[in-house]
Symmetry: C2
DNA sequence: ATGAAAGCGCTAACAG
DNA sequence: CTGTTAGCGCTTTCAT
């Protein structure tokens, strides 16, 4: 008959055990402080339940041993990994960086770490990524964009953890969503240009989902307002692979102005594209905003200082990250999430280009 | 006398245990396949040791149960978390994005996940971050930049895991380093401009470590070459907080040209700053490259398409990420790292602006 | 090629 | 407020 004994005290000191990292463990700290392991655990995770004297003693022992808790073990024991997964379509896309930064930092403050995955705008990679990340038992998952694949939705739902979709709105989030309406942006920009007397709009857009939503709403609204001459004429559109670059913006204007010399406004799916359009316009001697109005999207940090300064759709990318992080942390700590759909809105920042 | 029994088989099915996630476990798969748990483990982690028939049976069971291995548990048992930590000074700094993307993807291919932390260019945050990340027992850690704080170096060394410092070179890496010499860049750019007959150079630079290294080497070389008129005259320099923006580039030129009207070349610490300088030059009617040569850094995707196209220092940011990832994976899997110092070099891409 | 036993380092549950 | 006990779900070691 084997005695389990105090499994952990079996070979407390030294690495005589099966394997082990040879590092300081919780039990080593407990020994030094002359307390039970669980007390050390409490000092770390719920100091409010520990007497000041004990706190002092244990903390000194932690200090002296240089103990760093093994969160893998803690996570396994508590079913709370304090890990949050994020799936980003493109890490190098500048619009998402602020969200990512806010996410990382807000989570870090709460003791959570972000795991990053890049899906590259394709559903299959996204699904594979979800599986890989799920194995880590994250306490939550943040998606840039909304989950369209049915299989992905099921897997997320099945995980039973908070899921936050972002940068978009949907009436049917997997769990919760924080973003804004790309459709409304398209409508608003079309109206903005219409009010300023533009009648022949065009579009330069990257071909990702959300950019297309904005373009579609823009085109429809333009048609509705009779901007294209008559409701059925299509708004000339130049597509380019995501993410948009200055170069593709230049190509966009070159293409559009050749095929449709009378356009007087362009809605770009990113500020980088808009900067490209502006650049090409300068090269061709097309005056902005005189002959051509240009509206960008993202209100990136160069928009205000470009010449002419870019009118752009501004979105609070940091807020999206912060709110998503709070949403997950709240839920993970047992607090109910405030609401499942958060619209952070947007605004059109009027500058010289339109 | 307690029997430990088969700890795991105690309450195989259902959540009658202490807690637990109610999810499918390895043992559930084993039961369904009628094999020992370890066999399922082998099918997943070392299929080469399992017979084809067994492989088939177990894989079917995995499929039918929808089993997703708990890597937290696996990591604890094997002391290999398959997690890699990355510390970035600034997530939103465009130069690092490609490295981050390459890192994430190369690691993901090898079954590793990246955990992200942002240090914000300060040593104290960096140290705190290291502690937080170490608790996760990563199999490796990647730093953008080199570790200067002594405390940080010690903690990294003490962790006993591969550490890769990047985006710089040092003869004394904590472990290994993959980057390039910022000093050489400064020298090379100064020589480049000198060869093209520029004699009154200036600098617009962000005030981060690496940018300052480039600026310093540039200034020293310029002085050595007699570019500043005589060896002791300082090269006019405009500093701006990192990261550099288009706006600060414009301010930089405005400031420099007011105080030093005769400058004929500017070395910028980023392409965004260079774009700002170019923009401001256009506004002021300063011809580029006629009166003023401008060199950027980063060779970002807009450099080639700007007007005038930006001459820039090109660095293979993706290679840094890929090599760093391989370095870590190799070491983690027991293969020896190829070498501890990798210089990926750089090149000056000659375009219109200089 | 497969299996049994024994933990990895920590925390939840329940006492006192 | 502190301690005891029993695992969390997996993999290593050693045996067959």
């Amino acid at each position: 008959m084997k005695q389990t004994g105090s499994a952990s005290s079996a070979k407390a000191n030294g690495r005589s055990g099966r394997r082990g990292t040879g590092k300081v463990r919780l039990i080593d700290v407990a020994k030094l402080a002359g307390v039970a392991p669980i007390t050390v655990s409490r000092v770390i995770n719920s100091p409010e339940y520990v007497s000041p004297e004990m706190l002092r003693r244990v903390r000194e022992a932690i200090e002296r041993t240089g103990y760093v808790p093994n969160l893998l073990a803690g996570g396994l024991a508590s079913s709370r990994s304090r890990l949050v997964a994020a799936i980003v379509p493109s890490i190098s896309s500048p619009v998402f960086q602020q969200t990512l930064a806010a996410l990382t930092n807000t989570l870090a403050e709460a003791g959570y770490q972000l795991m990053l995955g890049e899906s590259g705008y394709t559903e299959s990679r996204e699904d594979a990524l979800i599986d890989a990340l799920m194995g880590r038992r994250p306490d939550g998952i943040v998606l840039i964009g909304i989950m369209r694949s049915a299989r992905g939705r099921l897997r997320l739902l099945g995980a039973g953890i908070p899921v936050v979709e972002t940068w978009d709105l949907t009436p049917t989030p997997v769990d919760s969503v924080v973003g804004f309406s790309h459709e409304k942006i398209g409508v608003a920009v079309a109206e903005y240009l219409h009010e300023r007397g533009r009648h022949r709009p065009a579009i330069v857009t990257a071909s990702d989902d959300r950019a297309r939503q904005r373009a579609k709403a823009f085109a429809e609204t333009a048609a509705r307002l009779g901007m294209a001459g008559m409701p059925t004429v299509e708004v000339p559109t130049f597509f380019t692979p995501a993410p948009g670059t200055l170069g593709s913006g230049r190509k966009g204007l070159a293409d559009l102005i050749t095929r449709h010399p009378h356009i007087d406004a362009i809605f770009c799916s990113s500020d980088m594209l808009a900067l490209g359009v502006v650049t090409e316009a300068q090269v061709r001697g097309v005056s902005i905003p005189g002959r051509l109005a240009v509206v960008g999207y993202g209100d990136l940090n160069f928009a205000a200082d470009a010449v002419p300064a870019l009118t752009s759709v501004s979105v609070d990318a940091s807020a999206i990250g912060r709110i998503a992080a709070r949403c997950i942390v709240d839920r993970a700590e047992g607090r109910p999430a405030e609401r499942s759909i958060t619209d952070v809105g947007f605004s059109i920042v009027r500058r010289e280009s339109a």
